[in-house]
Symmetry: C2
Subunit: 338 residues, 2 copies
């Protein structure tokens, strides 16, 4: 840097005080600067390619136009990079610069990151979760906080989560609408918020079609393709299922595999629906997988906008926004055989 041009240089060249330069360049309405002076100032500024030092401005204004995104290693997981992209887009459009850190969910790291960003005088925080969950926020983030893909136990801040229940309902409805009545559900092994809500959505759909819930149709798969493959095979053999709703697309890929091994074809013998619409998984499956899209971009956008509102003092109440999840139809659903 070294020879940076400051407001003083502009003032000198325009033959005015630096106060006047500031007033002109910031378009301060109540300051009635003569047109001629303003003109000279602008000319000088542009000739010198003057750009205000944001540190000095921030120090003086007590406002930095920066935000921090704390994430649960989110930035390193393919699924959620859309959320980050959305935040950045909104930030840019609002003249905000964004700090990003990933804490791996470690409370110690979170704490120190929050402290560091506070010292850096950020205007607000987005706390982004790797997957839909109920979180305990690190202390001391202040009041300009928005939770993304998660929510706090008590609604202290705006939060946005996907409509897992509605999405699951849509997925299972798609199967029911094709005539399936024996529908298996391979749920997540972990008792997550999403697992719980997707089960509820599964039952919702069944109920609406007057199909009785049969607990033998729901099964929990451990991580890894093999567990899902086994689950799918069992569900077909033991529970006589003609369709499968899978907790996510990766589970669905496992299910494909289990079915194929039994000599069963998707969707001719068994229909399959996934969840997430994960790129290179759902679309690369053979046949391409019908699934439910997680609205990552929309959630990120909503969160960033909510934060901007808060920062500008126009923040509403601490709403938990539930973002709809669209069904994406591809080629893994057909009417039941026979």
């Amino acid at each position: 840097m070294g020879q940076t041009v400051t407001i003083k240089d502009v003032a000198l060249r325009a033959g005015v005080s630096s106060a006047t330069v500031s007033l002109v360049l910031n378009n301060v309405a109540r300051a009635r600067v003569s047109v001629a002076t303003a003109e000279r100032v602008r000319a000088a500024a542009s000739e010198l390619a003057y750009a205000p030092n944001l540190l000095a401005r921030g120090l003086r204004r007590q406002r930095t136009n920066t935000i921090a995104v704390l994430s649960d290693e989110i930035a390193t997981t393919p699924l959620a990079s859309q959320m980050i992209g959305a935040i950045q887009d909104v930030a840019m459009r609002n003249g905000l610069l964004v700090f990003m850190v990933n804490t791996n969910g470690d409370p110690e790291t979170e704490r120190s990151a929050v402290a560091a960003f506070h010292q850096q005088q950020v205007d607000g925080f987005v706390y982004a979760c790797l997957y839909h969950r109920v979180v305990d926020l690190p202390p001391g983030m202040g009041t300009n906080v928005v939770v993304l893909d998660g929510r706090t136990r008590r609604p202290r801040f705006p939060a946005v989560v996907p409509d897992d229940r509605g999405g699951a309902r849509a997925a299972v409805t798609e199967l029911l609408a094709h005539g399936h009545r024996r529908i298996g559900f391979i749920n997540d092994y972990y008792a997550t918020v999403a697992a719980d809500l997707r089960l509820k959505g599964y039952r919702d759909a069944l109920r609406e079609f007057g199909v009785r819930f049969d607990r033998r149709c729901v099964v929990y798969a451990e991580p890894g393709l093999e567990s899902s493959a086994d689950a799918a095979a069992r569900l077909h053999e033991d529970a006589g299922v003609t369709a499968l709703f899978c907790f996510n697309d990766r589970v669905a890929v496992g299910a494909y595999r289990g079915l194929t091994r039994q000599g069963l074809a998707v969707p001719d013998d068994v229909s399959v629906v996934g969840f997430d619409d994960q790129e290179f998984v759902a679309d690369y499956a053979d046949p391409p997988l019908t699934t439910v899209a997680l609205p990552h971009y929309a959630m990120g956008q909503w969160a960033a906008r909510a934060l901007v509102e808060r920062i500008n003092g126009r923040g509403g109440p601490a709403e938990v926004r539930v973002m709809p999840c669209q069904l994406v139809r591809r080629a893994s659903v057909a009417r039941p055989a026979g």
Copy 2:
């Protein structure tokens, strides 16, 4: 924020000047402060939970301990999030906060981002590319710049790229070592740096094994599974290939599909090797794909470290670091049939 505690509050409570507080808290060696005074200062600081305002410090020191990562929409692509993770890890360990923006490679956006970060007085830039390429950097980034997964035409800054050529050579050698002699190469449709280098690596391996290069064995696939599927089928039928080296894992998935349609099994009838080691693609393929890993984490780490060195004035010459690419053996390679 509002009632933040400043150095003045600490000074008041400790009964010293703010200069002394600063000296003590920064452990300034040449300042000989009495042990008793230092003790009082530290006590006061900790009682008040004082944390220095980094804006003020930055303004004064002309050094902010922040860096900016400009990316080519890198952060929104699954492949490269490892690079970002690595940068953040190194940054954190060095007390650096990181700004992140993705410019979608738009020169206009890049320019304004660079300007904004300059105004924010960042200490340096990482210019991160989506894929290995030769780039024109936006003007005015100054001297503390490192290029990640790309390099400039002239070596002005440290840069780190993957060893595409060596990786390709390793991939094809794996095939040759299993006894294959007719080896097809489905290369990228676009004339990228990577496409060029991987072709060179392919030829290197052939040469080492005394296998003559046959141009009918190399083919270019457009984006999308179908084009790769066709290419694979053609290569097997027309060129009598028993093994396939694919530009990347996604192409390999397409190849699997084309082979399967011909009633050909991987690896019993045709062996396949990919490139990238893309999560959920290479490992989820059936059979799991032998491939070459792109060293994203290592590259990100190297870039961040090089930037730290530069910032600290210990930067060496503008080296282009070529990072080795490891072969990852899975289940898609076998000896040729018969």
